[in-house]
C-alpha cells in the first residue's frame, strides 16, 4: 500500500480588490516532497485547488526576480525557498512588504521601475569609442570594482527589508542605489556627475540609516548597503567640491 503523501499547511494573505475590501488569510493544505520550493507549493494550489490565487513567477532558478514575497515575515524568492526548511509549518505567505498590493501576492512594481529609470542606468561614455575601435580595455580588477553591483536581479526584496523605504516610499532605495553605484564605478563610464543629483537629494543615499538588512536578504550577494555607503562618501565629496567648481559651469 502506498504511503499517503506528507502535507504542509500554507496560509496565504489573499487580497482581491474586486471581491474583498481588505486582505484575508486563506489556508491550504499542500502535499509536498523535500525538494519542493514555496513556489512549487503555490503552483500546486493554483493548479489543483484554487485557480484564483495570483502571483508572479517565471524562471524558477532565482535569476528573473519575479517571485519575491514575504515567507514567514521575511522577504524571500519563493523559488529559492524550500519547504523542508520551514517544517512543520504552517508557512505564512504575504505580498512583499512596503509595496502597494495589486492583488494577492502581486505588488505594484511601477514605482521601483520609475526610480530605476531615473538614475540614468546606462553607460555615459567617459571616452566615446566607435565600434571599429573594438572593446574598451577593462582589466579584471576594474571589472571587480562594479561586478558585484551589476548582479542585482531587481527582485525588490531589499525594499521590503528597508525600514526607511517603509517610512518614506520616495527613497530611491537600496537596489536602485546599488545600480547607480554599478555605473559610477565602471571604468568605461563618465556619468557620475549627472547621477549626483539623485544621489545627494533627499531621495538619495542620505536617507539610508545604515540598518544593513537589505544586504542580508539579497539573494544574489549584491550588498546594496555597501554601495549606498560608498556613495555617501562620494556624495559628501561632491558636496564639498561644489564650492570649488559650481554646478552648471562646464569644464
Amino acid at each position: 500500500m502506498a504511503e499517503s503523501p506528507k502535507t504542509i499547511d500554507v496560509e496565504v494573505l489573499r487580497y482581491r480588490p474586486e471581491q474583498e475590501s481588505e486582505p484575508v488569510w486563506q489556508r491550504y493544505t499542500v502535499p509536498y516532497t523535500d525538494d519542493m520550493s514555496v513556489l512549487q507549493a503555490l503552483q500546486q494550489i493554483k493548479d489543483d485547488q484554487d485557480g484564483s490565487l495570483s502571483f508572479r513567477w517565471s524562471c524558477r532558478m532565482a535569476i528573473c526576480g519575479s517571485c519575491g514575497m514575504m515567507v514567514n515575515g521575511k522577504p524571500h524568492l519563493s523559488c529559492q525557498t524550500f519547504l523542508r526548511d520551514l517544517l512543520p509549518g504552517p508557512v505564512r505567505i504575504e505580498a512583499l512588504a512596503h509595496f502597494p498590493i495589486e492583488r494577492d501576492l502581486v505588488v505594484s512594481v511601477d514605482g521601483f521601475v520609475k526610480k530605476l529609470e531615473g538614475i540614468k542606468p546606462y553607460i555615459i561614455p567617459k571616452e566615446p569609442r566607435t565600434l571599429a575601435q573594438g572593446e574598451y580595455r577593462q582589466t579584471p580588477a576594474q571589472l571587480e570594482q562594479f561586478e558585484q553591483f551589476s548582479g542585482c536581479i531587481n527582485c525588490m526584496l531589499c525594499y521590503s527589508a528597508c525600514p526607511q523605504f517603509g517610512l518614506d516610499p520616495s527613497f530611491a532605495g537600496p537596489g536602485v542605489l546599488a545600480l547607480l553605484h554599478r555605473y559610477n564605478a565602471d571604468s568605461r563610464d563618465g556619468g557620475q556627475a549627472l547621477r549626483m543629483e539623485v544621489l545627494g537629494s533627499t531621495e538619495g543615499v542620505w536617507n539610508c540609516t545604515a540598518v544593513g538588512y537589505c544586504s542580508e536578504v539579497c539573494p544574489k550577494g549584491v550588498d546594496p548597503a555597501n554601495a549606498v555607503n560608498q556613495n555617501k562618501v562620494n556624495s559628501a565629496k561632491d558636496y564639498f567640491l561644489r564650492f570649488l567648481s559650481p554646478r552648471g559651469s562646464k569644464s
Binding site: S58, C64, E102, E117, R188
Partner: protein
C-alpha cells in the same frame, strides 16, 4: 471600451531580441514611435536565464569560415547558408556594441573580452559574463533602452491577437494584465520576439512564460512555422525541475560520467577521452549527440536511478572550488541550494531536458515573414541559422544580430506603409477582445487547465522526445487533437478581470497546443533522422534525397496542420558527414585538403 495607442513599429516581447530591435529603431529613426509590448517586465524575460555565452569570432587564429562551418555542420546541413554567412559576419560587432553599452563581459588579464570553449565550436569564441551571460545581456539592453524616449513600453501587457487588414499586419491587441482591460496598439509593422515554446514539454529548462505565444499568433494568421520538429534537449539539467547547468561547465573542463564513473561519450563517436578538454570532442560535442548518448546509456542500464528519473554525473571536482566560484558561480549556487550538492566535492546528477526550439516563424534572411509587415527575431523565429540542431552560444548572438536587423527592416517597412483604416482595426480589435473574454466567461465545462497542460507535456515527452517512432508520434498527434477539443471545456475558478492569471494561462494553453501540434505533425512527416530529430523505426539515417528541405506547418483550425516543404539554401558547404572527436578531425583535414587541391 478599448484604448488605442498609435505606434509606427510594435514589438511583441521585450527579451534580448525585442529590446535590441527597439534600440535599433530608436537609434536609426528617432522620429518613429515604438511600442514595446511584453507580458512581463523586460528584465523578467527568459533571456535572463541564459548562462554560458554568445559566440563571435574573436581570436586571430579563428575565422568566419570556421564559425560558419561549425554552425552548418552542427545544424546537420539544414541551415540557410547565406543567412549563416551574414550571422557570423555581424556577430563580433554586436558583441563590441554590447561591451560599449556596459555588458560586464569577463576579461583577460590585459583587459580584453575573454572567450571560452563551447560545444561543437572548433575555436574558443564564446564571449561570457561568468555564467550569467543572458542575465547581463538582458539587463544591459533594458537599461540602455531607457535613454530612448521614442520607446514606449507596455509592460505586463499580454498579446492576444495580431490585427491583420488589407493583407498586412497593422497592430496587436493586448490585455493590460493589472486591469484586465484591452489596448489596441496600431502599428505599420510588427516584430515578434516572444521567445521559444519549451513549456510544451514536461521536463524543460524554460521559465513559465515560455509558451510559444508569438509563434501561435503568427501561425493562426497563416504564417507557416518552419522546422518545428527540431527541439533541442540540453544534456545537463537538474532532475525534476529541468533547471539548466550550462554547457560552460564542460567548456571549462567538466566531465560526464555514467554510473561506473566512466566517460561514456567515448563510446559514441566523440572520443578519444583526453584529460584536457578538446574542442568538438567528448563533452564538447554538440547537444543533440550528447543527449542521444544519455538515452543509449540508459538503455544499457549504465545510468544511476534517482527520484526524478535516471541520471548521469556532471563531474566538476577537478576544476577546484576557486575556479568554479569564478567561472560558474550560479551553477555552484544552484547545485548547493537546490540539490544540496557541493560540486567541488561531489558530481552533480543530471539528465537531458528540453531547452530550445530550433524552428519557428518562417523568416527570410532579413527577418520578414510571409505576412507583409510582420517580422520576427530570436527563438520564436526561424531565420535559418540553427538547422536541425543549434550550437550552444549561437542563440544569444542571434538575438542581437537579428533583433537589430528586424528592428531596421520593420522601420523601413513602416516608413513606406500607408496609414491603416482605423474603423476597421477597431472592429477587429472588438471581435478579438470578445474571443479572449469568452475564454474567461465559459461555465460548466469542468476541464482544468493544469490537467490538460500536464497531459500535453507528458505526451510530447513520450512521443517527441530524444528518439521517436511513427507510433509514438502518432499517439501524441491524436492526444493533441483530443486536448484541443477539451480546451473548449476549460472552466476557470477566477472570474475577475484584474490580475486574472488563470485567464492568461488558459489563453497560453491554446498557444501551447497549437505549437505542439506543429511540432508533432512536422516530426511525424519527417521520415529520416537529422540533428535533434532521431527516429528508431526504419528511418535512422539522414536522407538528403528526400528530406534536405525545411518543413512548413500551416495552421488549419481544428484540423491537423498541413505539412509542406521548402528548399534549403546551400552556398559553399555541400552536405557531408557530421563527425566529432578524432573522426571529426580526420573529416576536417580531408575537407581542407580537398579545398586546397581545388585551389
Amino acid at each position: 471600451m478599448i484604448e488605442t495607442y498609435q505606434a509606427d513599429v510594435a514589438i511583441v516581447g521585450a527579451g534580448g531580441a525585442g529590446l535590441r530591435a527597439a534600440i535599433a529603431v530608436a537609434q536609426a529613426h528617432p522620429e518613429l514611435r515604438i511600442a514595446l509590448v511584453s507580458k512581463v517586465y523586460p528584465m523578467r524575460s527568459h533571456t535572463v536565464a541564459a548562462e554560458g555565452g554568445a559566440a563571435a569570432v574573436t581570436q586571430a587564429h579563428d575565422s568566419l569560415e570556421a564559425h560558419f562551418h561549425d554552425t552548418v555542420a552542427g545544424g546537420d546541413w539544414l541551415c540557410e547558408q547565406d543567412v549563416v554567412d551574414y550571422f557570423v559576419g555581424q556577430a563580433h560587432e554586436e558583441m563590441v556594441q554590447m561591451e560599449h553599452w556596459g555588458c560586464p563581459w569577463s576579461r583577460t588579464a590585459d583587459g580584453r573580452a575573454n572567450v571560452r570553449a563551447f560545444g561543437g565550436m572548433k575555436i574558443e569564441r564564446t564571449w561570457f559574463a561568468a555564467d550569467k551571460t543572458g542575465f547581463h545581456m538582458l539587463h544591459t539592453l533594458f537599461q540602455t533602452s531607457i535613454q530612448f524616449p521614442s520607446i514606449r513600453r507596455f509592460d505586463e501587457h499580454f498579446c492576444v491577437d495580431l490585427m491583420v487588414d488589407e493583407g498586412r499586419v497593422q497592430g496587436v491587441l493586448a490585455i493590460d494584465i493589472a486591469s484586465g482591460s484591452f489596448t489596441l496598439i496600431q502599428a505599420k509593422a510588427v516584430v515578434i520576439a516572444t521567445g521559444g515554446a519549451g513549456r510544451v514539454f514536461r521536463e524543460n529548462t524554460n521559465g513559465g512564460i515560455v509558451t510559444g505565444d508569438g509563434m501561435a499568433l503568427a501561425y493562426r494568421h497563416g504564417v507557416p512555422l518552419r522546422d518545428m520538429e527540431f527541439v533541442q534537449y540540453h544534456p545537463t539539467c537538474m532532475p525534476g525541475t529541468g533547471l539548466l547547468f550550462t554547457e560552460a561547465c564542460r567548456g571549462e573542463g567538466g566531465f560526464l560520467l555514467n554510473k561506473d564513473g566512466y566517460r561514456y561519450l567515448q563510446d559514441y563517436g566523440l572520443g578519444p577521452a583526453t584529460p584536457e578538454p578538446r574542442n568538438k570532442a567528448m563533452e564538447l560535442g554538440p547537444r543533440d549527440r550528447l543527449s542521444q548518448a544519455y538515452w543509449h546509456e540508459k538503455q544499457k542500464g549504465r545510468t544511476l536511478p534517482g527520484p526524478h528519473g535516471d541520471v548521469v554525473q556532471l563531474d566538476l571536482r577537478h576544476l577546484g572550488e576557486a575556479k568554479l566560484r569564478e567561472r560558474l558561480p550560479q551553477i555552484y549556487e544552484l547545485a548547493v541550494e537546490y540539490l544540496g550538492v557541493d560540486p567541488a566535492k561531489t558530481p552533480i546528477p543530471v539528465l537531458p531536458a528540453v531547452h530550445y526550439t530550433m524552428g519557428g516563424i518562417v523568416a527570410d534572411g532579413r527577418t520578414a515573414s510571409t505576412l507583409p509587415g510582420l517580422f520576427s527575431a530570436g527563438e520564436c523565429s526561424s531565420v535559418g541559422i540553427h538547422g536541425a540542431n543549434r550550437l550552444g552560444s549561437n542563440s544569444l548572438t542571434e538575438l542581437l544580430v537579428f533583433g537589430k536587423l528586424a528592428g531596421l527592416e520593420a522601420a523601413a517597412f513602416a516608413k513606406a506603409a500607408p496609414a491603416g483604416d482605423i474603423a476597421t482595426l477597431a472592429r477587429l480589435a472588438e471581435a478579438a477582445s470578445q474571443r479572449a473574454l469568452a475564454v474567461a466567461e465559459r461555465r460548466g465545462g469542468g476541464e482544468r487547465i493544469a490537467t490538460l497542460r500536464r497531459e500535453m507535456a507528458q505526451s510530447m515527452e513520450d512521443g517527441c522526445g530524444i528518439y521517436r517512432t511513427a507510433a509514438t508520434m502518432q499517439s501524441t498527434c491524436d492526444k493533441l487533437a483530443e486536448l484541443k477539443q477539451r480546451l473548449k471545456n476549460v472552466q476557470l475558478d477566477d472570474h475577475s478581470r484584474g490580475w486574472n492569471t488563470e485567464w492568461l494561462l488558459a489563453i497560453e494553453l491554446g498557444y501551447l497546443l497549437d505549437v505542439a501540434q506543429a511540432m508533432a505533425h512536422s516530426a511525424l512527416e519527417r521520415r529520416e533522422s537529422r540533428g535533434s530529430h532521431q527516429r528508431l523505426d526504419g528511418f535512422e539515417q539522414r536522407d538528403d534525397v528526400n528530406f534536405l528541405k525545411h518543413s512548413l506547418a500551416t495552421y488549419a483550425g481544428d484540423d491537423a496542420p498541413r505539412i509542406g516543404y521548402g528548399p534549403v539554401k546551400i552556398t559553399s558547404s555541400a552536405p557531408g558527414t557530421r563527425a566529432y572527436g578524432a573522426a571529426g578531425e580526420q573529416a576536417e583535414a580531408e575537407r581542407k585538403a580537398k579545398e586546397t587541391n581545388h585551389g
